[in-house]
Amino acid sequence: MIIEKQHDLPAFRQAVRDWLADVVPPDWRARMAKASDDEFIAFQRWWMGERNKVGLGIPHWPKEYGGAGLDLKHQIIVAEEMARTDAPQARMFIISLIHMPGTLFPHGTEAQKRRWLAGVAQGDVWCQGFSEPNSGSDLASLRTRAVRDGDHYVVNGQKIWSSYSMYARYCLLLTRTDPEAPKHRGITYFIMDMQSPGVEVRPIRQANGRSEFGELFLSDVRVPAENMIGRENDGWRVAQATLASERGVIAFEGAERQRYEVEGFYRNAVESDAAWLADDQLRREFMGYVAELQAGRRLLRTLLRENASHNAPPSVLPSMVKLSGTSLRQRLCSFMVRIASIDGQRHGAITEDPFGSPMFEFLSSFSGTIAGGTNEIQRNIIAERGLGMPRV
């Protein structure tokens, strides 16, 4: 019904739009604002199930692994229509949908791909065990130890900032297998079953009151050697594929959503003759954000085109996109807090209205500027890899 129309883009778009109009519950935001953890998980699973029913669960994967093999234009259309409808996001499945296949496609054996890729369509949640309490920006200094014991490795250590790990079935895990080697050369990449004995997950309570991240405590966890991705001590290279897999796809949908948020916010302000519109300084500041928003959406399209072009040289555009986009989000949310004045200080979670809880959005914006390589790390990448400024 939708996938069959892939050769006719306007019809494909219309089919996605019709399906969304039909399937998205109009009150989902209000429901999720008050939802318990169990309700959130159930809702996320329901949403993935609905997407799967129409072939939009893993549409960007190759056909041989259960996907629809859709190209970039279709992905853009799906993301645009999701944003336009304000459809739910598959937040809990981001690692499952993007990072896991982004790692297994280039580095997994055929047996590994057959074994793990199929589960995503059935709703397997994956998490990422990369950062540690003492290895954040300096990720390669990680110390979680894996020691060979027959046909298994025994893992001990601690991981942190693992999104939705409380609900995850599998974990993409980085471990230290050779403590004597230089730090980048003693790391091994595993897939860990989260139901293994010795895995304990504790949710982290965030500044915005939510708990989307978890901390993993690993005590004598036995991971089969066949779960190793790539070779022993070659995990750093494999991890680069995980880290590079996202390249703007999530940010693209985020920016499209933000477009409707900002546009809706401005329309409401115009209709209600909001006080801030009469303030010259605030109104002009807002127009600056509008300009940056539009430039950012274009920059993301440039990045997605670069991803799709097979002969494009590696660039630092993903870092520039992250740096500019997350900084814009933070400044925009900060602006929303300021114009809401005392009303904006009322405690509340997400609401129906765009920026209806500006403090929540502002606090949440730090996950953009800090997670996935802090903006300071992005600046290092831009300066060193992009501009050829020396590493000292």
Partner: protein, 358 residues
């Protein structure tokens, strides 16, 4: 298919334009040449203007039936971007914006009389430096050369084209020596042709896009020059480009450049497609790009350290160009106000100003 074929031809022509302009300017409008020019040792502005005429740069935005190349906003943005990159001196922004206004809003006789002469480099034109103060019966401050032959200006009767051959014109010394500002006694200028009521908006759109493109090109250039300098300047026994505090600033600058380029490209696209939000995006592109350019030129001056404060290095040339760009066309706060008003009007009509093609 037809549309694609046209687009391919255009793209070839635009790529050729970019390469051609960049090649000539890198060779002839480099740092040494610009310094010689601002020190009065070389008439680089005239030399390049003659070449620009021969090479067809002045014809880029003029319709083909008047001897132009008809490359529209896309061609003009490329040209102004490259002129900005080399901080090239000359009345390009004023002349080409005036030509666009004549082409869009002048009568047939006026178009036939003036456009081929502009395209051929025979005459240059002046425009009000600040259009928000354009209505004046006395002295009008204009962007343009002291020997400009034409002026686009507004009087109580509306927008018109004036000949300046026998007008009282004096040059106003400005800090940016790569452009010139003149004062024209409007009463002494000879009305030459009327322009229709769209002339004000047309001129503003042409000027804002030209200034935005100039700013984006110039900002990229001074950033590249500054980073190159940081790789050679050593302190504490190493190139200063290795210090993280400075690397992070450089990364911020090039990220700003990427945003500026997209904003200029967006304005070009909306203008070319004749979208109702075209003016909004040209105004925002000018406001954002000129302020980003001023920020970048300021930081590049600082990143140069002591030599950044000298006459002999490049930063001050760009810094002054940036500050003039900010002030031209219409002050940025007023541009943002107008953009906000257009967006509000569109919101009331349930239309979007944020549409983007795939």
């Amino acid at each position: 298919m037809a549309a694609n074929a046209v687009e391919t031809v255009d793209r070839t022509a635009l790529d050729a334009l970019r390469e051609g302009v960049a090649g000539v300017l890198v060779e002839q409008s480099g740092s040494t040449a610009i310094h010689a020019f601002i020190d009065g040792k070389r008439a680089l502005d005239r030399e390049l203007w003659q070449q620009a005429a021969v090479l067809g740069w002045l014809a880029v935005g003029i319709p083909e039936r008047h001897g132009g190349l008809g490359l529209g906003a896309r061609g003009l943005a490329i040209l102004h971007g490259e002129l900005g990159r080399q901080a090239t001196p000359g009345p390009y922004i004023a002349t080409l914006a005036a030509a666009e206004t004549i082409a869009a809003c002048g009568d047939e006789a006026g178009q036939q009389r003036y456009l081929p002469r502009i395209a051929g480099g025979e005459i240059s034109a002046a425009v009000p430096a600040d259009l928000s103060r354009a209505t004046a019966s006395g002295a009008l401050r204009c962007l343009g050369a002291p020997d400009a032959a034409l002026l686009v200006a507004q009087t109580a009767e509306g927008w018109a084209l004036f000949e300046l051959a026998s007008a009282e014109v004096s040059e106003v010394p400005i800090w940016d020596r790569t452009r010139t500002v003149i004062e024209v006694k409007l009463g002494t200028a000879k009305p030459a042709a009327t322009l229709d009521r769209r002339a004000g908006d047309t001129l503003l759109r042409a000027m804002t896009l030209a200034i935005a493109a100039d700013s984006a090109g110039a900002a990229r250039s001074i950033t590249e020059r500054t980073i190159a300098y940081m790789k050679t300047r050593e302190q504490f026994g190493q190139p200063i480009a290795g210090f993280q505090a400075l690397k992070h600033r450089a990364a911020d600058l090039v990220t700003k450049l990427a945003v500026m380029d997209e904003l200029v490209a967006h304005a070009v696209e909306r203008i070319e497609a004749g979208e109702p939000d075209a003016d909004l995006w040209a105004m925002l592109a000018k406001a954002e790009s000129t302020e980003a350019f001023a920020f970048i030129a300021t930081d590049c001056t600082q990143l140069h350290g002591g030599v950044g404060f000298t006459w002999d290095f490049d930063p001050h040339i760009f810094l002054k160009r940036a500050r003039l760009n900010e002030a031209l066309a219409t002050p940025n706060p007023a541009l943002r106000d107008r953009a906000a008003a257009i967006m509000a009007e569109m919101a009331r009509a349930e239309r979007t100003a944020l549409e983007l093609a795939l």
